[in-house]
């Protein structure tokens, strides 16, 4: 099984048992790795009877056949679990070094099940796997923990939770290599619920590659295209992901003050250009990445990685804040607490609107940059109002009588694009299996950046076809696992050819996209089994009913309903969003159908 390590590591924290067993070859071929493999294993492991924060939930860390091969951005890995924030299927993936190192340790996946009675950490080395006492580490923040466990980028890599995960914050992230995160949906809380503080890996083996000559050619061609693309060779390295701040604002799709507006009058001050001019120390890159979008930023108080575009938006425009230094510091605090920045910022924005509407008695009002740091600390340690905020915006809104002010889908806070100004993005959010997510399909590319070609962002008819294709492509890329930014310079055709060269298994472009479609449908089945319905495939009422008042998107609401009906039909699902038998048979998922009848 070249490409794949062919082995799964399974650790039960309740009993202390450590097992390894072979990766099923058919599952590997059908689901490839990463998110796909994680979803397939999760399907078997965690049913609807399992509370996400109980010992019955599992954490499944996965790599893919391209991981650690040296192919561009082949550093990423994924975690799958049932989300404590949304109750849906969840996967989150991250870059850095840890994923590469884990693959080199000789595994495709690690399943962590059960619950330890006391805090522990796991150490995976070529000499063996051990479960170790972590009582001295419990309570420590992420950077301190990472350092204490001996992080060394190319040799020994640390993945851990911070106080947010320990305190079961529903928006807690798992952090790796210090400041990279598996952030969305609260996987850090699942790790905290298991009393698992950290996982340390040391690996040695480079994975095998079937056709080295063809692989070298794909490396060469991919490098050529990444260098030729202004986005991957200039925009992202020079300005980071915030390069899109002004672009999205200019078209009237930058959600502002909890989505009450679609343009932020101070966008320029929090843009990628401003970050580069005032706070950038240098850029940095994950293992085997020629793009280098990572920012190393410095203010008077902090120096570290980030902030990304979504983070800058969440603490910036979404909260009506134009103080970029405060945003950089908020990002650093979230990283050190181990907390999802999008959900944290957007939940604070929800609290700000609740306060301004007189529904919540707090000092949090739009523009209060001075309160960000203390509020985030309170969230990480569940102190005062922070105890409510750390439950996420939907639970916060419900508690204070206005769930409609939660700008979320299925309970996951929406990222930095207003669906009223990007109709496809709205459909993408509404149908995303883990809740609102911009990484489930690159509608930004199609509707704004012209990747691969620009489409009409207000077009409704036919939009579902684009959304479906890009959801499938994203699921496939997440299953390889590589960084989606490569797809901004290199078409998925290259990934299929590279996968073939590495594994020796023939994948056409269509085959690879079909892997993504299979993963998407499996995740859909999972959510249906959990009790989710068509009613959950929606957007906050504000976006469906309140038209944008001015700017380039003036007069638009999200026209979700016609797009959703077209989407179900095009997916081969019935009117309730249940995959039809023929579709499941086509995807070799027919054996799972009984579970959702």
């Amino acid at each position: 099984m070249d490409g794949w390590a062919g082995k799964i590591l399974d650790i039960d924290l309740s009993s202390g048992s450590i097992k390894t067993y072979p990766l099923d070859e058919k599952i590997a071929r059908l689901f490839v790795g990463g998110r796909g493999l994680g979803a397939r294993l999760l399907w078997e492991e965690v049913g609807p009877e399992v509370d996400p924060l109980s010992s019955g939930n599992v954490l499944i860390f996965t790599t893919g056949p391209l991981t650690a091969t040296g192919y561009q951005t082949s550093n990423r890995f994924s975690v799958s679990t049932k989300s404590p924030l949304t109750g849906t299927v969840l996967d989150a993936n991250s870059g850095g070094y840890w994923g590469m190192q884990f693959k080199k340790a000789g595994y495709d996946a690690l399943i962590v099940r059960g619950r330890s009675e006391k805090p522990i950490f796991i150490e995976i080395k070529s000499t063996g796997v051990t479960i170790n006492d972590a009582q001295q580490l419990w309570g420590k923040r992420v950077l301190e923990t990472t350092k204490a466990l001996g992080q060394n980028d190319n040799k020994r890599n640390v993945l851990c939770i911070g106080p947010a995960g320990e305190n079961l914050s529903r928006i807690a992230a798992i952090m790796n290599d210090g400041q990279r995160s598996l952030a969305r949906g609260g996987p850090g809380a699942v790790m905290g619920s298991k009393n698992l503080k950290a996982i340390v890996v040391e690996g040695k083996q480079r994975p095998g590659i079937v056709d080295e000559e063809r692989f070298k050619f794909m490396l060469y061609e991919t490098r050529k295209l990444l260098r030729a693309s202004p986005l991957t060779s200039q925009a992202l390295p020079e300005f980071g992901t915030s390069v899109v701040m002004n672009i999205v604002n200019n078209i009237g799709a930058l959600p502002t003050r909890n989505f009450m507006q679609s343009q932020f009058e101070h966008a320029e001050e929090i843009s990628g250009e401003a970050l580069t001019d005032k706070y950038l120390v240098k850029n940095s890159a994950c293992w085997a990445c020629p793009i280098g979008c990572t920012r190393i930023s410095k203010t008077e108080k902090v120096e570290g990685e980030g902030p990304e575009y979504e983070t800058t938006w969440a603490f910036g425009a979404q909260c009506g804040i134009d103080d970029l230094a405060a945003i950089i510091e908020a990002n650093a605090i979230c990283n050190d607490l181990g907390m999802d920045t999008i959900s944290a910022g957007s939940t604070i924005a929800c609290a700000m609107e609740l306060t301004e509407k007189g529904l919540l008695d707090s000092d949090l009002r739009f523009g209060r940059a001075d309160l960000l740091a203390a509020t985030l600390e309170d969230m990480g340690y569940r102190r005062g109002l922070g105890n409510d905020l750390t439950e996420g915006s939907l639970r916060l809104g419900k508690k204070y009588g206005a769930p409609e002010l939660s700008m979320s889908v299925k309970g996951l806070e929406m990222p930095a694009y207003d669906p009223r100004g990007m109709q496809g993005q709205g459909l993408l959010y509404a149908t995303s299996n883990r809740g609102a997510c911009h990484m489930r399909g690159n509608m930004l590319g199609l509707e704004v950046l012209g990747l691969p070609k620009l489409i009409d962002r207000f077009q409704v008819q036919g939009k579902s076809s684009y959304v479906i294709l890009h959801q499938n492509v994203a699921a496939a890329i997440d299953s390889l696992v590589i960084c989606k930014f490569t797809n901004m310079g290199v078409a998925e055709e290259y990934f299929a050819r590279t996968l073939t060269a590495v594994t020796g298994v023939k994948y056409t472009t269509g085959d690879l996209i079909k892997v993504g479609e299979r993963v998407w449908n499996l995740e859909r089945l999972y959510n249906l089994r959990e009790g989710f319905t068509r009613a959950d495939d929606t957007l906050p009422p504000r976006l469906l009913n309140e038209a944008v008042v001015d700017g380039p998107s003036k007069g638009w609401v999200s026209k979700l309903e016609p797009m959703l009906s077209e989407y179900y039909r095009a997916r081969g699902w019935d009117l309730n969003g249940v995959p039809r038998p023929q579709k499941l048979a086509d995807l070799e998922l027919a054996d799972l159908r009984e579970a959702v009848r």
């Binding site: 063809r214 061609e221 691969p452 620009l454 008819q461």
Partner: protein, 203 residues
């Protein structure tokens, strides 16, 4: 009812194909996929002068009254949508590329742009090179591996996420063939300037 925004896309790409000389007055056809439906140019309509009523919607899988109006190559378009992830298809008759296809089993570009974008374009053939199930099957199968394929002596079929993208591959191929033709006319030794280009014919 076909959305005005979709009609505009057809009108613009259709006009450009004609203006660039990639089709004769009534030749060529283009389509997009909308879920399980295909929107395709009406049979006999002029690509350079498309009107809203020149767009026909029909099923990808089965016949309905739309087939009475749709382009001659509907079968090929349907098969392509069934067998590949394409959301758009552009079929036209680029003259220089047709000329090259008469003597080659594949067109391997020598210019920089097409080397980046296409690497290699296979040339396939069928005795009945228009509107037959055999041709449609052969074509769609080859398009599983390539984004543009040439039917010997007939024309190109390109796929993309949008008409814009499929048009891009088409015009790139024709431009590349024109450059190759000029190079032949100049008739001087070719100086290789690309790395690993020997692998293109294995693409």
């Amino acid at each position: 009812m076909i959305d005005e925004r979709i009609y505009q896309q057809f009108r613009e790409i259709g006009r450009d194909l004609y203006v660039q000389g990639l089709v004769s007055s009534h030749g060529g056809n283009i389509s997009i996929r909308v879920g399980d439906r295909v929107i395709i140019k009406r049979r006999g309509a002029m690509l350079g002068r498309l009107k809203p009523h020149d767009l026909v919607e029909t099923s990808i899988e089965k016949n309905d009254s739309g087939v009475a109006l749709a382009s001659t190559e509907l079968l090929a378009h349907r098969m392509i949508y069934q067998m590949t992830p394409a959301l758009a298809v552009v079929h036209c008759h680029p003259r220089t590329a047709i000329a090259f296809s008469l003597s080659r089993d594949e067109i391997v570009p020598i210019d920089n742009e097409a080397s980046y974008l296409l690497k290699k374009v296979p040339v396939i053939w069928e005795e009945f090179a228009s509107g037959t199930p055999e041709m449609a099957q052969n074509l769609a199968k080859t398009l599983q591996q390539y984004k543009i394929v040439f039917l010997r002596g007939h024309g190109s079929f390109a796929i993309g996420q949008t008409l814009d993208e499929a048009f891009h591959w088409t015009s790139t191929l024709e431009e590349s063939c024109q450059i190759a033709l000029y190079a032949k006319l100049i008739n001087e030794p070719f100086v290789e300037y690309r790395g690993m280009s020997e692998a293109y014919n294995k693409w």
